[in-house]
Symmetry: C2
Subunit: 337 residues, 2 copies
Amino acid sequence: MVSIKDIAAHLGVATSTVSKGLNNATDISDDMKQKVIAAAVELGYTPKRKKISTGKTEYAERKVCIFIENMDYENKDQFGYDLILGFKQSATLNNWSVDIIPSSLSARTTSDYDQFMLMNQYSGAFMIGFSMHNDYSIQFSKTRIPTVLFDNYIPGNSKVGYVGTDGNEGLELAVKHLYELGHTKIAFLNGAKNSMVSVEQTAAFKNAMKKYDLYVDSHLLESGYYVPDCAKYHVPKFLDYGATAIICASDLIASGAISEVTKRGLKVPDDISIIGYDDLPLCLSLSPALTTIRQDRLSLGKSAMILLKCLIDNVPISKSILRPELIIRESTGKCKS
Amino acid sequence: MVSIKDIAAHLGVATSTVSKGLNNATDISDDMKQKVIAAAVELGYTPKRKKISTGKTEYAERKVCIFIENMDYENKDQFGYDLILGFKQSATLNNWSVDIIPSSLSARTTSDYDQFMLMNQYSGAFMIGFSMHNDYSIQFSKTRIPTVLFDNYIPGNSKVGYVGTDGNEGLELAVKHLYELGHTKIAFLNGAKNSMVSVEQTAAFKNAMKKYDLYVDSHLLESGYYVPDCAKYHVPKFLDYGATAIICASDLIASGAISEVTKRGLKVPDDISIIGYDDLPLCLSLSPALTTIRQDRLSLGKSAMILLKCLIDNVPISKSILRPELIIRESTGKCKS
C-alpha cells in the first residue's frame, strides 16, 4: 500500500504538505495541490476512509458515485431511474453512500478521471450512458479506480468491469417468438451504429435468425438512434421490402415504429408485428401494448454496485451479464401473409 | 410465496403432514414424504430458515453446498482447492454455511436435484467440474433452485448462472505475447472436445490469431484432455508441422508438452515456447518455470458465492466472468526459426 510518506518522498516535500494536498486544504498553492494529486495517482495511492460514528458502531465512510450522461433518469418512466435506484439500494445495504454526477466527465488528460476520484475520495464509480469516445477509452483503459461501465467493455484493465443484459439471449427470444407466429421476413431496427452494444445486438440478431434458418435481408437491417423519431427514416423501407415484423433496439424506437406503421394505414399486429427492447413503463400505454425484451433495470443497478464492490475488493470480474425476459403483450400476432 | 398450507391444500392432507415430510420426520411413510417433497418442488416452495442465536444476535441459518466431480481439490496444488476456499471465504463473510458434496449428482428424474436440495434445506449450490451431459442439462434448465455452474452455461433459466474466466482475453494475451516474440506457427492443444469451455477456447484462439494476422493451420489445432498424458498424442504432430510455440488449455497439459518436447532432444524455450493455462502452483516447479494464463481461482470461488447470493435474491445474473492475466516465466522465448 502506498502511503502519504511515499508520496512525500517521491516529491521531496513534507508529509503535511501531501496531506494538505489530498484533503483539499486552502493553505497550499494550487500548483502544489496538483503535483500532490498527480503523484498520488501515479503511485496508485488509495485514500484512507474517514471514520464515522453512529453511536454504537464506528465504521469507515465509503462513498461511490454515478456519472450519467445522454440518459434521462429523473422520473420513473425513464431508463436511468431504476438503474440508479437499484444501485442505491444495494449501496445502502452495504453502508455506502452514493453521489450522482449528471454531467460530462472532463477528459483533458488521461489522468483527469483518477484525479477527480481521488480528490473527492470516491472509492469507485458507475458510468451510465457514456459512448466510448477515444478520450474515455484511454482513461478507462488506464484507470486505477474501480469503475463499472454500463453496456461498455474495456479490455485488459482489471479495475474496470461491465454490466449489461445478454443481447444474444434477448434477440433469440424475440426471433423465436416471431418464428413461432409464422414470421420469416423480420426486420431489425438497431440503435446508434458505433456503440459496442449495437454491434453486439446486430451479431445477436443474425445469430438468432440463423438458428431458425431465416434469411437476413440486408434491406431489413438498419441502425438509427435511441429515439422514436428514427423510425420514420427506416420503417418505410422495411415495409417496401416486405417485412411482416420489426424488432426494435429500444421501446422508444418501437413507439416510433408503431406511429409510422399506423400513419400508413396498417395495423399492429394484424399487418405487422412490433417488438421493443427494455420494457419501460411506456410499453403499457402504447396502443397496442408493446411486446418487448425486458431488461431488469433494478437488477442491473444492483449488480453494478455488487460488481463495483468486487472490483474494490480486488475480485477482477470483467463482465456481469443479466438475463433478459420476453414480455408478450398485444403488438405481436400471427403472420398473415 | 408458497406456504406449507398451499402444499397441504394441493395434496389434500394436514399441514402437520407436510411439515413432517419437509423436515424428514420418521413418523410418516416414505411414500407420503416423497409426495410432499414432489409437491413442494412443483409449487416452488422455499423452506424457511432455522433461527440460530449467537447470544446477541439471532439470525436465520442459511446453507449452500458445492457439488464437485471430475476435479481434485484436497490439497492446494490442485485446481479445485482455491475455488472452494474462495467460495467459503465469501460465504463465511455473509454468515452462510457450506457443505461439500464430492460425488456424482444422481439424475434419475428431472426433479431429483430440486428434491435433494429442498430435503436438505440448501438455498443454492455451486457445481464444479461437471460436464454437461444431457441429464444435467435437462435438470439445470428446469431447476428452481439457485445454482451456479463453473465453466458451463444454461440458456433461458434465470435461476442458473455461470462463472468462468474470459477465454477470449486469455488466448489473446497468449497469442500477443508469442507474436511479439516473433512466433507465427503457433499450435493450440485444447482440453476435452465437447465441453462448452473448449468450444469457446478454440473460437477464442482463432479470433486471437486472426487479430494478429496469423494463419491457423488445422494441423496445429487439437483437442485432448486435461491431463499431462494427452500431450504425447499431439505434440509430435505439432513439431512435424513446424510449430515453434504451443499454447495448452491447462498447466497439466503444458507439463506433458514440456516432457514430450524434452524427450525429443528439443529445448524449451530455445527450440519451442510453451504456455499453460490456470497458473497452478505446479508452474513454478516445472523446468523451465511455466509461462501461463492465470485464472484467479480464489476470486472465481468468491464470485461464485456472490453470484449465488444474487440468484437467491432474484437478481438474475447469467454470467459473471473474470479477467485472466498472463504470467510470463521461462518457458517462452524469442522465435529463432
